[in-house]
Amino acid sequence: MVLLEAKHVSKRFGGLKAVNDVSFAVSRGEITFIVGPNGAGKTTLFNLITGVVHPDSGSIYFQDQDITKLAPDQAAKLGIGRTFQIVKPLRNLTVLENVMLGAFLRTSKPAQAEEEARGILTFLQMEKFLHLPARGMGLPMLKRLEIARALATQPKLILLDEVVAGLPTVEAIKLAMLLKRLPEWGISAIGGIEHVMQVVMKIADRVIVIDRGVLIAEGKPQEVVDRPEVIEAYLGPKYKEIGL
């Protein structure tokens, strides 16, 4: 069953076509990864889905509802959670309060929001840091905090923008194994990743490759990385025949 569908979406910034006529669909309970080199348009695609920017043409549907022109807070209310590539914690609030903020989307009671937040932080193995302010945390914990905050909004779909970028490999794999369990909770995920392919291969059900704003390949992880056009996008035409 289709959860999210993008139809011929384009977005241009001045002379740059950041996203160019991209169409794809994401099914319920699936983990999809959008991969592409730096500047391929992954973050723009996420910003289009969450209403941070609106497409110049094309339309986006979430659960058969047109969300093309929605504002970010309305998208969140519908059940689209997101994390930011450049982490955006609420620096002066504690870890617990950061996550409670997400939980407040579905409840008005602080006690209930706190309980919700504690549960999610336990799932992400952050219970030791509950009362520390976010401003002192290192990147691995801030990346997890981004996920925790988004999960607290009880999303149906979560967009994970470069969620393992900048993490040591061990930490990245650990986090990926946690994310693999999201469908158990009825949450679908779209990840955006530049090059940490181990993570993609481990947890993705499906991979979409974009390069310079254009969708160039789509399919199962292994079959996608073998395609010559994907290799070319990453390594240049010279390596097209050699393979990754």
């Binding site: 969140a76 955006k88 903020l101 929001a113 988004a150």
Partner: protein, 333 residues
């Protein structure tokens, strides 16, 4: 607010009510009224400027509308207390208009926009002599049958108490969390479903209502107001400096700030006469340099180093220094 803080606050307000039983000097009571008035105004500003982090430098507009609302409406025969509340209503309406426009801007542009609006309100009041009396000013009715300063002092304490209780409640509510989220990062707030424009506007409406009540009290005490006094940029700045000095975004900050700043101003006035503003300025600069989180904020953050703070007891926000901000945003698209 912890148990101990609650007892401290309750004790403070009870003692404040008892002050007129001991202090009989009109001069002292007038200074104390000023302390409580600015504590209340600071608490009101703190909702927008402290918790929500929107640096408003135009609160004199709401203060002035409250003052002029009382003066002008009672002139056409409306009873003073009713005029006061209608004036508060007018201030809320002007806050809605100002907020809808200025909240579209972020950071320093927002601050400039609020200054501009307050100046517009002041200039309108100055240039409509038939309605407002213009530069000559206008008379304000007494709110209390006894002209005694005691009634003003008590109403000042009550207004501060109201603003304090309101803030304490907001601080622990969903609305309070949303305000703080907006201060910390507006994009993040939106990503978890916060309608930031609406939340900011609500905080401004509450803030403007409280500020307007303060304006009306102030006007009624002095019985005569002119635009350059109640709607001046000086007034806007003072309303903002009190909570910033005490600790913006903290519950106790505005009260502490007002006690320190207003008594210091009065003492300096007596000692240094004409030079008092200079000393006052130096004091403000020193606090901003050495205690950027304000007095209450610095204490709260120091205490946090010694013990693990319980959930919800937020330390004061630490302002981001420009170079740090540049570093944070360097790679942002």
């Amino acid at each position: 607010m912890s148990h101990r803080q609650f007892i401290a606050a309750a004790g403070f307000f009870l003692l404040s009510f008892a002050v007129p039983l001991v202090v009989h000097s009109d001069y002292t009571l007038q200074i104390l009224f000023r302390v409580f008035l600015f504590a209340a105004l600071g608490l009101a500003w703190n909702l927008v400027g402290g918790y929500a982090g929107q640096l408003s430098l135009g609160h004199a507009a709401y203060f002035g509308v409250g003052a002029y609302g009382l003066a002008l409406l009672s002139k056409v025969g409306i009873p003073p207390w009713l005029s006061l509340f209608l004036g508060v209503g007018l201030a809320v309406i002007s806050a809605a208009i100002i907020g809808l426009v200025s909240f579209r801007l972020r950071g320093p542009y927002f601050a400039l926009c609020t200054i501009a609006f307050a100046e517009v309100v002041r200039l309108v009041a100055k240039n409509l002599p038939d309605v407002t009396g213009g530069d000559v000013g206008t008379q304000v009715p007494l709110l209390f049958t006894e002209s005694s300063i005691k009634s003003f002092y008590i109403s000042g304490v009550l207004l501060t108490g109201l603003a304090f209780v309101l803030t304490a409640w907001i601080e622990r509510s969903k609305f309070g969390y949303y305000l703080m989220a907006i201060r910390e990062d507006e994009d993040t707030a939106m990503s978890v479903g916060v309608n930031t424009s609406r939340v900011k506007l609500w905080s401004l409406l509450i803030s403007a209502a409280l500020t307007a009540i303060g304006g009306a009290l102030y006007a009624s005490l002095f019985l005569f107001i002119v635009p350059d006094q109640v709607m001046s940029l000086d007034m806007s700045v003072e309303i903002a400096i009190v909570p910033m000095l005490g600790g913006a975004g903290t519950l106790f900050g505005p009260v502490i700030g007002s006690i320190v700043l207003e008594t210091a101003a009065e003492i300096f006035k007596n000692i240094f006469q004409e030079a008092h503003l200079l000393i006052y300025g130096v004091l403000v600069v020193m606090v901003v340099i050495f205690l950027p989180e304000g007095i209450a904020g610095t204490i709260a953050n120091k205490l946090r180093l010694f013990k693990k703070a319980p959930a919800g007891s937020l330390a004061a926000p630490v302002p981001v220094r420009p170079e740090e901000e540049a570093e944070r945003t360097a790679f942002r698209k």
